[in-house]
């Protein structure tokens, strides 16, 4: 992709940055184990480093998970590592 002008890309390439930036975290980060759940979502401005952009997401999660869920926000608030709702995955 290196030779492609960002003029051709959606959001100045931000959609693809969503892939590269998250992959970087997934490969490098030690603050979540391999079995921890990772949640990512498009929020205001998508993965911008300004933490304010992520406030709506984290507060919305809080909305239904409630306070005793054990939810733990990390890494810009874009990653949630928790054992919540593992039951939805089932056994196979």
């Amino acid at each position: 992709m290196a030779d492609i002008s960002i003029d051709y890309l959606l959001g100045g390439g931000s959609h693809l940055a969503k892939i590269s930036a998250v992959l970087e975290w997934l490969e490098a980060s030690n603050d979540a184990g391999d079995d921890d759940l990772v949640v990512m979502m498009d929020a205001y401005g998508q993965l911008r480093s300004n933490g304010a952009d992520h406030y709506p997401m984290s507060l919305t999660l809080l909305q239904t998970f409630g306070s005793s869920s054990g939810a733990k926000f990390s890494s810009h608030g874009t990653i949630l590592s928790t054992t919540l709702r593992m039951n939805v995955y089932g056994k196979d």
Binding site: Y44, A52, L62, G66
Partner: protein, 334 residues
């Protein structure tokens, strides 16, 4: 075979083109065939797509164990590197240039389509003699993608992007979709499928407001799901005089509900009317108490808690006040 990585779901295969691997092998929606009554999956509705069932991947929400997410994102990065200007399956519009102009959703749809293609290959390889006797297993029932007949999901009759069957269990990334909006609701072509419902009030009155002839019948029962009832007291950070039993508390709050499916999604993805991000902000129950909730989090006495801040990969901690400077307060705490 598992579904450990969950994406959101929507009503259109987008931006991918119907004849491509991102669309044609994708299985039928598991939603009820009458979810919109007699106009389900028809072009009659609030628009051409409104009466369609959720069937297609939406990458605005992705959740899975870190191990499986890593494998998925590694594949997505490979796909991004392979992307070229002229994709060999374009319909002539050049809409698919540069993998639909660098759309992450298009990439994930291709990975999902390839997975489903190979799953169908494997299903045909392994279906039992018992199925064969019953006349089942040869092909799934035909489906339609926006009124286009898909007579065979691995080799439809119309010109399409051809894929070859592979041996073994290839292209498997344990991807599944949140068809029933249990995690997230995409609002595009779906705004009228959902309403904020306060369950302790007259539910029938709330769901019946502004319904049009093509809208789904309400399936709201009034019962809150167990996972919400067992979630922490929503007012636990707030002054004691506003607390009650947690079951009653949830019923007194406006909860965004998909009334077609009787589901209360955890998140809303405003990918249709984006201005709803602003004008619905105050409707979320927590907003009334947001200042108190945040103050409660910040002063929490749990040493392991983030206190409204965030822990970065390198071990650094960023406080709430750094993450969300005071200049944003007016917008957030309306």
């Amino acid at each position: 075979m598992k579904q450990t990585v969950i994406f959101g779901s929507g009503k259109r295969c987008a931006p991918n083109q119907v004849q491509t691997i991102g669309c044609y092998p994708v299985p039928e929606s598991p939603l009820p065939k009458d979810v919109y009554g007699n106009n389900t999956d028809m072009s009659v509705g609030r628009n051409l797509w409104y009466s369609l069932r959720q069937r297609w991947l939406n990458s605005g929400f992705i959740m899975g164990p870190k191990r499986d997410m890593r494998a998925l994102f590694q594949r997505a990065a490979e796909k991004a590197k392979e992307t070229q200007r002229d994709m060999d399956f374009d319909d002539g519009s050049h809409g698919s240039d540069f993998m639909y102009h660098g759309s992450d959703q298009a990439l994930f749809a291709v990975i999902f389509g390839e997975q489903e293609f190979q799953r169908e290959i494997m299903r045909r390889r392994h279906y039992s003699i018992k199925d064969k006797i019953k006349g089942q297993g040869a092909k799934p029932d035909p489906t339609h993608i926006y009124y286009t007949l898909v007579d065979d999901p691995i080799n439809p009759s119309f010109p399409h992007e051809v894929r070859k069957a592979k041996e073994g269990k290839p292209d498997e990334f344990s991807l599944g979709l949140d068809y029933f909006s249990e995690f997230i609701q995409q609002t595009v072509n779906s705004e009228e499928d959902s309403k904020y419902i306060t369950y302790s009030d007259d539910i029938e009155k709330q769901v019946s407001e502004n319904r049009e002839m093509f809208d789904c019948p309400s399936r709201v029962t009034g019962e809150l799901p167990k996972d919400i009832l067992s979630s922490g007291n929503p007012f636990s950070y707030i002054d004691t005089d506003e607390r009650g039993s947690s079951k009653d508390d949830w019923k007194q709050l406006p909860l965004y509900t998909n009334i077609c499916l009787n589901k209360i999604p955890i998140m809303i993805h405003h990918n249709g009317d984006k201005s709803a991000r602003e004008h619905q902000w105050e409707t979320m129950w927590v907003q009334r108490h947001a200042r108190k909730v945040v103050d409660g989090m910040k002063s929490g006495d749990d040493a392991a808690a983030s206190k409204g801040g965030a822990h970065l990969s390198d071990g650094k901690y960023i406080s709430w006040d750094e993450l969300c400077p005071a200049e944003w307060d007016q917008e957030i705490f309306r």
